[in-house]
Amino acid sequence: MDNAPGYEITIADIGDRFFCKDGQNVLLAMERLGRDGIPVGCRGGGCGICRVQVMGGGKYRTLKMSRAQVSETDAAQGICLACKLIPQGDLHIRALGSLRQSLR
């Protein structure tokens, strides 16, 4: 990429790649670059729309997320919300977001 510290994020199913600056969350990095692949919701860890799973052994940390959206079991399997996902290395992720339609 460029000289700014950061990591390459690959969205597994579609193979799309984008750059995430050190300390930035994955969803914001995607949005700022005009990319897609992960559904965007509240951007605050509350709604669960941007659920992803980190594949393989990528290094990352997460900020506080709603337990209604990510259980402890989920978290142990690398499931988290992209808006609270801070990479600490290159990551391969899979979007899980299920958009629940509210109106019939």
Binding site: R43, G45, G46, C47, I49, R67, R100, S102, R104
Partner: protein, 307 residues
């Protein structure tokens, strides 16, 4: 018209993931005033032009969303009458002692068919709006951020909308001001008023119960809506949609999110409701225009993003 039963939305308790960023959002950015904290760590906030000691309660929790929404009723006599009316429907009613929320009189709480906890109360400590009641100035100095005037309404998502509407009209004395119907004439959205506003509470059909769509705060003008959106730009507050206009209620609006993902709205300019009017009907196939009048497109997030 006279306000004899339920008067207005009086408070909403919002769950936040972290109190620090939540206070920056609700106090520094929206401009609510912090009126205190209780021994449970809940923080009480009011908008400047409200006279009671709080309207928003923030509770730090592991999940975002809304704990309950409370309405102020005109008198303790009316509260007793409404409690009996709610019990008569077979609905379980919880009595909560005065002081459980700091400065609030005794409350009754019950769960409506959409799964939401609704409260009624008659008394809350008066603190005023800072301008006094004799020869007052029009507004106080020293307000921060968007300077919202007052908490106005909530939109809630859940199932059983026709039952909810029946309860609000026939038990709590609300009027239906606007409704959304699908092709089979099922009511899938409802806007209800206990006052002469276009809505004091609204519901949209959703498979999961007890979901929170937004809490709305009143501003005075389109210019103030634009200024609020500028503040969202300055501080990178995520905007959901707007500034734009709603078809339903005619409100001018911005939807945005707090740091825990709970949606807020700043809005101005609905119409005046009187109880001799008939409700407005919107067809589901025109829902884009009903919700976002200018581009007439329903956003995916309006229908799916809730806490």
């Amino acid at each position: 018209m006279s306000f004899t039963g339920v008067m207005r939305p009086g408070h909403t308790c919002i769950r936040v993931l972290e109190m620090g960023p939540a206070l920056t959002h609700y106090v520094d950015r929206l401009g609510l005033i912090n009126t205190g904290e209780d021994e449970q760590g809940r923080v009480y906030l009011k908008a400047w032009d409200e006279h009671d000691c709080f309207s928003i309660v923030l509770r730090e929790a592991d999940e975002a969303g809304m704990d309950f929404m409370g309405f102020k009723v005109f008198s303790t006599g009316e509260l007793d009458r409404l409690e009996a009316a709610v019990r008569e429907t077979g609905c379980e009613v919880e009595r909560i002692a005065a002081g459980e929320l700091t400065g609030c009189g005794h409350r009754i709480r019950f769960v409506i068919p959409s799964g939401h906890s609704i409260e009624l109360y008659a008394e809350k400590d008066y603190v005023g709006n800072g301008l006094g009641r004799v020869n007052p100035d029009p507004w106080p100095e020293g307000l921060t951020g968007m300077q919202v005037n007052r908490y106005d309404h909530c939109l809630l998502y859940g199932p059983n909308i026709p039952d909810v509407v029946d309860f609000f009209i026939n038990v709590l004395g609300f009027d239906l001001t606007e409704r959304i119907i699908d092709a089979q004439s099922n009511m899938i959205g409802a806007f209800l008023a206990c006052s002469n506003k276009a809505h004091d509470i609204a519901f949209i059909d959703f498979p999961e119960p007890a979901k929170f769509h937004h809490a709305s705060f009143l501003l005075n003008s389109w210019e103030e809506i634009l200024r609020a959106a500028d503040i969202m730009g300055m501080y990178e507050i995520p905007i959901d949609i707007g500034p734009t206009r709603h078809g339903i209620t005619r409100g001018r609006t911005v939807y945005f999110f707090d740091p825990s993902g709970n949606r807020n709205e700043v809005f101005c300019g609905d119409y005046t409701w009187y109880p001799d009017r008939e409700p407005i009907t919107w067809h589901a196939e025109e829902l884009g225009k009903a919700i976002f009048y200018h581009d007439r497109k329903l956003s995916e997030s309006f229908l799916t993003v809730v806490t």
